[in-house]
Amino acid sequence: MNGGAVTDRPPRVGVVTFPGSLDDRDALRAVRFMGGEGVPLWHAERDLRGADAVILPGGFSYGDYLRCGAIARFAPIMDEVRAFAEAGGPVVGICNGFQILCEAGLLPGALIRNRQLRFVCRWVDVRVETSASPLTGEIVAGDVLRVPVKHGEGQFVASAAELERIEAERLVVFRYCRPDGSPADDANPNGASNHIAGIRNDAGNVVGLMPHPEHAVDPDVGATGGQPMFASLLSIALARAA
């Protein structure tokens, strides 16, 4: 694993709880399930408690009555998350967390109302587009993973120029696809541009995605497409812990 980093403690993955976070406990449980140590982080504190990686979880931070994630980006802990990200620390935004990262300018693009104008909760397939992200370091590009989505505002959009840059710089990490790996409208749950389900920043240490890998690690409750994602995250976190 990543050059055989050796440490005597499990990697610490911090999960931020904002008011209105919903999948924070689920993300912590998934970290533990995959062998890491889940570290609860609180929005009002300026402390990442020694986390080797940080997850911004799903939910409706502050009710999302303005734009999704628009208020959360001003939370005190976000200063720490931004500094952590700028120092190369692995940061993952899931669903609402993805929206927050876009609002905070840590990721390009934006997430708007689903094309069908309805909330959607369903299992989807995504194709991994690059190994250069905290969630895909141990996954071969082209692999197809089964994970659930659940969101009302998950349609990824960007200006034509930005979208071109995102594609050219290979910033797309996950793309909605059919089980055979082919991206298609009927496999895209929200009308996202270019079927984009997740993207990374230029440096490759910040990733955001609409699907919920934390709900796809335990085979007793569904498919396990989230396992290799969490394994990748723990691996990179372990390397930093060493």
Binding site: P19, G58, G63, D64, Y65, F119, C121, H215, V221
Partner: protein, 733 residues
């Protein structure tokens, strides 16, 4: 302004006003009248239903908390308790579907947190008029969006429910919500807790505004008339973000042992919460309305007392704990204010507004001494005629394959995916079996146990024979739970009816309660609580009698849970139970013959329970590859659903020498369709025989087609397209 006297405008009768006068020994003032009107409303006082509800079985070895509190509770073993309750929010939903349904979710969730339990699942049984009507489509869309908009935002998965469509529900949709919570049994906040005189009443959560005034007395306890939109101010507005904070703050307060009592503010608002808290404690209370945080400054005392502003809770807090309570609430960003205290003495609830006493009444008289009515009852005139005209013996010209497709496409039968995909069904990580199955399964973290949850109501059966309809609803709910391998433990019920002042409606109600009582006794699933929703009618046309049963069951090891989907090729399919010529009240009769008539299928409660026992026994020994309840649309639909869910075809031949359409579509009770690997077929047959459950080998799973020997065959993909496509097509995609 109307010249009608105030008490009549508030919904109180002349006799009720006399009762209040004799209780107080004087004329009530306007504030007191508003308080009595709210608390003595049908919605809060159960004045028409109480006598009947007392006949329900409410005790059993697993019951920890029975009816009369915010929610019922059952023992799950290992020190765990499940708390659950169902409620209606039909009237508000008829007026404003999104907010009506959303606040219904909020209300039932607060009932669960009041008991000190974390909400872990929601289920939503709904009834609408036919989707051919534009208003019904609008209502469905709004209600579903409201349930999702609220439930998705508070992190409680919506794991089940059911939807039916029938013309009598057009004016008045039926919107019920069930919530299930989990708590350590010793931490339940029950009425038995010790509370002390002098302890503070702390109101926390949202500020109080003018919304929802008259919700219980104007909206919920009268029939809907013209000018519905004028009642919109009586509908509350939900703020799910505040609710999420309320959940976390309340549970933290309970977990840290900071509370003597906890109660939600729902119908009748502050009046209800304070009078019930005081009455339960056998005390009085003092409340200072100036200390209630207000959303707008100029609320009148009666408005503060009866506002149904959402997302508020009332805690009973010892004085020395007040600082801790403030600290917890403020960390969650929730205002909290000590608005009064419990008092010793004569049990008076005294309400002040600044220096002025604005109400002074016995707390008990509000909460527990409301009127009780023995309403007259008579069977409706047409009851016998409807039973006599039995479609079982009708001449049928529609070919069975056409009838089969029509049934799969009937909105009552067709997939409700369009609905449940709008609900977050997986948050909290415990959903083992998600919506679209007989029963949902939600596991309990840290154990191998899971709760099996199902809601059921039998519209047509109840319309034709309310007693049988209600008993069937209990039977089907228990059967759905047993199909997964779980043991049914207890029920909560939501009794949706028309105007109880009409003798025919009251008769339907009494018959339904009798049906529930008999079935619950037979299955040993006591009633732990529920809700009565009357006045579901517009003009003189009531909804069908709609008792909805919320069944809670327990499976000790969820890894042994059985699904409805066929699990691959080569399994042998069996029918457990027997098919009789019973098309009365069936989906076939309505969809294909266009009639709701005849005698609903007979229900032998012993036979039904033997089937449940076999389903549970078989699941426990990992005998079944699939198990699916057989209900609307009969064997044909049950087999089709297992095939569609599993993506596997089958070949089957039907038992007996009844006409094909009867064998395929009869809705005889006490049946399930299961599959086993051939090596274990003998074991299945021996077990069924030993447990006195009739069985018949229908055929075998496999292949891309469904084949009814000698009748018709179709591709699984084709029937799946009908089943999945019907509702989206009706709703325009």
């Amino acid at each position: 302004m109307s010249s009608e006297p105030l008490h009549l405008r508030l919904g109180l009768t002349d006799d009720e006003l006399e009762d209040i006068r004799s209780t107080l020994g004087r004329d009530p003032n306007a504030n007191e009248l508003a308080m009595y009107a709210a608390m003595w409303s049908e919605h809060c006082s159960y004045k028409s239903s109480k006598l009947h509800l007392r006949t329900l079985p409410t005790e059993g070895p697993s019951v920890l908390v029975g009816p009369g509190q915010d929610a019922g509770a059952v023992d799950l073993g290992d020190g765990l308790a499940a708390v659950f309750k169902i409620e209606s929010h039909s009237h508000p939903s008829a007026v404003e579907p999104y907010q009506g349904a959303a606040t219904g979710v909020g209300g039932i969730v607060r009932d669960i947190i009041s008991m000190g339990a974390r909400p872990i699942a929601l289920l939503d049984p709904l009834r609408f008029g036919p989707l051919s009507d534009e208003r019904n489509r609008w209502l469905l869309g709004g209600v579903v969006a409201g349930i999702g908009g609220y439930g998705n935002c508070i992190g409680v998965p919506t794991v089940g429910g059911e939807i039916g469509f029938a013309e009598p529900h057009s004016a008045n949709p039926t919107v019920n919500v069930m919530c299930v919570g989990l708590a350590p049994a010793e931490r339940l906040v029950t009425a038995g807790r010790e509370v002390h005189a002098g302890s503070l009443l702390v109101l926390f959560g949202a500020a109080t505004g003018r919304d929802g005034i008259g919700g219980v007395s104007v909206l919920a306890s009268r029939t809907l008339e013209e000018g519905l939109e004028e009642q919109r101010p009586s509908v509350q507005i939900g703020d799910p973000f505040a609710e999420k904070l309320l959940i976390e703050a309340s549970l933290e307060l309970v977990e840290r042992g900071l509370l003597e009592g906890l109660q939600d503010l729902g119908g009748a608002g502050l009046t209800c919460a304070v009078s019930e808290s005081a009455s339960r404690a056998g005390m009085g209370a003092f409340v200072q309305l100036k200390d209630v945080p207000l959303r707008e400054p100029d609320l009148e005392p009666f408005e503060i007392l009866t506002s149904e502003s959402q997302e508020r809770m009332l805690a009973i807090v010892a004085r020395e704990r007040l600082d801790d309570v403030h600290e917890v609430c403020s960390r969650w960003g929730l205002p909290a204010s000590a608005i009064g205290a419990l008092t010793e003495g004569d049990g008076t609830l005294r309400v002040a507004f600044g220096d002025e006493t604005v109400a002074s009444v016995p707390a008990r008289s509000l909460a527990d001494e409301g009127p009780v009515y023995t309403r007259p009852m008579t069977p409706p005139d047409d009851a016998v005629d409807a039973l006599a005209d039995d479609p079982t013996f009708a001449t049928v010209t529609t070919p069975v394959d056409e009838a089969f497709v029509a049934l799969l496409r009937s909105p009552n039968v067709a997939s409700k995916r369009w609905v449940w995909e709008q609900y977050d069904s997986i948050v909290q990580g415990g959903t083992v079996v998600a919506p679209g199955s007989d029963a949902a399964l939600v596991r309990i973290e840290g154990t191998l146990k899971a709760l099996a949850l199902s809601t059921d109501g039998k519209g047509r059966f109840g319309a034709l024979d309310p007693y049988l309809g209600a008993a069937h609803a209990v039977a089907e709910a228990a059967r759905n739970v047993a199909s997964t391998g779980a043991t049914p433990l207890a029920i909560t019920n939501c009794l949706n009816f028309g105007n109880p002042e009409r003798p025919e409606v009251m008769w339907q109600f009494a018959q339904s309660v009798r049906g529930i009582a008999d079935a619950c006794r037979a299955f040993e699933t006591p009633v732990t609580g529920g809700n009565v929703s009357f006045y579901n009618e517009a003009g003189s046309s009531a909804i069908w009698p709609t008792p909805v049963i919320g069944m809670l069951g327990l499976i000790e090891d969820y890894r042994l849970a059985v699904r409805g989907a066929f699990g691959g090729s080569g399994s042998w399919i069996y029918l457990l139970g027997e098919t009789f010529a019973e098309l009365g009240g069936s989906e076939f009769a309505e969809t294909v013959l266009g009639t709701v008539a005849g005698r609903p299928p007979a229900l032998d409660l012993d036979r039904e329970q033997r089937l449940h026992a076999l389903l549970i026994e078989g699941a426990g020994s990992d005998l079944f590859r699939s198990a699916h309840d057989c209900a609307e649309g009969g064997i044909a639909v049950a087999l089709a659903e297992s095939a569609i869910a599993g993506g596997s075809g089958f070949a089957a031949s039907l038992p007996g020498d009844v006409p094909a359409h009867v064998g395929l579509f009869s809705e005889s009770a006490s049946r399930a369709v299961i599959s086993v690997v051939p090596e274990r077929a003998t074991e299945l047959e021996d077990t069924a025989e030993a447990m006195h459950v009739p069985f018949f080998r229908l055929g075998e799973t496999g292949g891309p087609r469904i084949v009814f020997d000698g009748l018709f065959e179709m591709d699984v993909a084709e029937i799946a397209a009908h089943y999945e496509g019907a509702i989206p097509e009706l709703l325009g995609g």
